[in-house]
């Protein structure tokens, strides 16, 4: 009989659960985190709209590092492996995760990719592992992938209001990379300081750097951030 509200209905059982619907994913993510931490790899979840410049940022990062750090990546993509091919060409060991209809990566997809082929060894032997998520400013944010930090790539061409429109994504961001700043002269309506003000309303420790993957401006600020994260995760 009902053992909660005392209504006395002998045909009713009330179960108090109070558990997150994401707990299965979170368990899988915790396992991934053990893999990453155990092999001393800095895992980063790279999120942002389609076309915001996620792949371009990683390509520019690899070029700028010129072999100083060993990089590996998986790229979530609905249909193709083009991003993984671009990253391989830029010197990043990379594999695609073709998601079919899923608009985000979940921990099980990443874990599956990690135990397939040569990626596992590459990830174990790398310094930074980039997980390029599916282009989408909404649901990738809610699936933990075992990453050490979330990087949200936001191009200045997307307009100044995106932080306010997608607070769930920006709340989870540890770093926002404002990309395509080389295009600012052509965007009279876009002010970086307004984007920063909006970020401060949705992001608890608002932190953004300005980058152009095409000209290379600001890429060194991203490298500095990577070094700082690597140092702090080694201490932890």
């Amino acid at each position: 009989m009902c053992d909660v509200c005392g209504c006395g209905d002998p045909h009713k059982v009330t179960l108090e659960v109070h558990a997150s619907l994401l707990s299965d994913n979170d368990r899988e993510a915790a396992h991934l985190r053990e893999h990453f931490v155990g092999s001393g790899v800095l895992a980063l979840n790279i999120m942002g709209s389609p076309g915001s410049g996620k792949t371009a940022l990683l390509e520019a990062t690899s070029r700028a590092l010129a072999g100083r750090l060993r990089l590996a990546a998986v790229s979530g993509d609905l249909a193709t492996s083009l991003d993984a091919e671009r990253l391989s060409a830029a010197g990043v060991f990379s594999a695609p995760i073709t998601t079919g209809s899923a608009c985000h990566l979940d921990a099980a997809m990443v874990h599956h990719a990690l135990h397939e082929g040569s990626l596992a060894a590459a990830v174990r032997g790398c310094d930074v592992f980039f997980i390029e998520n599916v282009g989408n400013l909404v649901c990738p944010a809610i699936y933990d992938l075992g990453q050490a930090a979330n990087v949200v790539v936001l191009s200045v061409t997307e307009g100044v209001d995106k932080p306010l429109k997608y607070p769930v994504m920006f709340r989870k961001a540890d770093l926002v990379v404002l990309t395509k700043v080389d295009l600012l002269p052509h965007l009279p309506g876009v002010s970086v300081s307004v984007i920063r003000e909006n970020l401060a309303r949705v992001m608890p420790s608002a932190r953004a750097i300005e980058v152009s993957a095409t000209s290379g401006v600001g890429v060194s600020a991203f490298l500095d951030w990577l070094d700082a994260r690597r140092a702090s995760s080694k201490r932890a």
């Binding site: 002998p10 179960l15 997150s20 619907l21 769930v168 994504m169 309303r201």
Partner: protein, 115 residues
């Protein structure tokens, strides 16, 4: 539309929770959606209606409760109004989300046969 996969995660959890009770006759599922959980309540309800019979929960009704986002200062605990700059006005501490960030299965009401 990640709401469909979340509804499947809901039914996975319900399957496990009710297994010891020897009945699949779920009447009510109470689910809490935080404002900052990244889940659209309407899409979730639609996905629920679409998936419920294939998962064997034909008579289950979904009771959705939405939970507003509450931000608090991590240092002094003062509330920081959602939509304002996420810094404490009194001590400049960082904001922490105290409520409204999760998607939670709170309660299952299950009909059981005579004992």
């Amino acid at each position: 539309m990640h709401e469909v996969s979340l509804v499947h995660a809901l039914f996975d959890q319900v399957d496990r929770a009710i297994a010891p009770h020897g009945s699949k006759a779920v009447r009510i599922l109470k689910v809490r959606i935080g404002d900052l959980a990244g889940v659209d309540a309407e899409l979730f309800a639609t996905a629920f209606d679409g998936c419920r019979s294939e998962r064997g929960y034909v008579a289950a009704a979904l009771e959705l409760v939405t939970e507003p986002a509450v931000w608090r200062c991590a240092e002094c605990g003062a509330e920081i109004v959602a939509g304002s700059v996420l810094r404490c006005r009194s001590c400049d501490g960082e904001a922490r989300l105290a409520a409204g960030g999760d998607l939670i299965l709170d309660r299952i009401e299950l009909e059981v046969a005579d004992v």
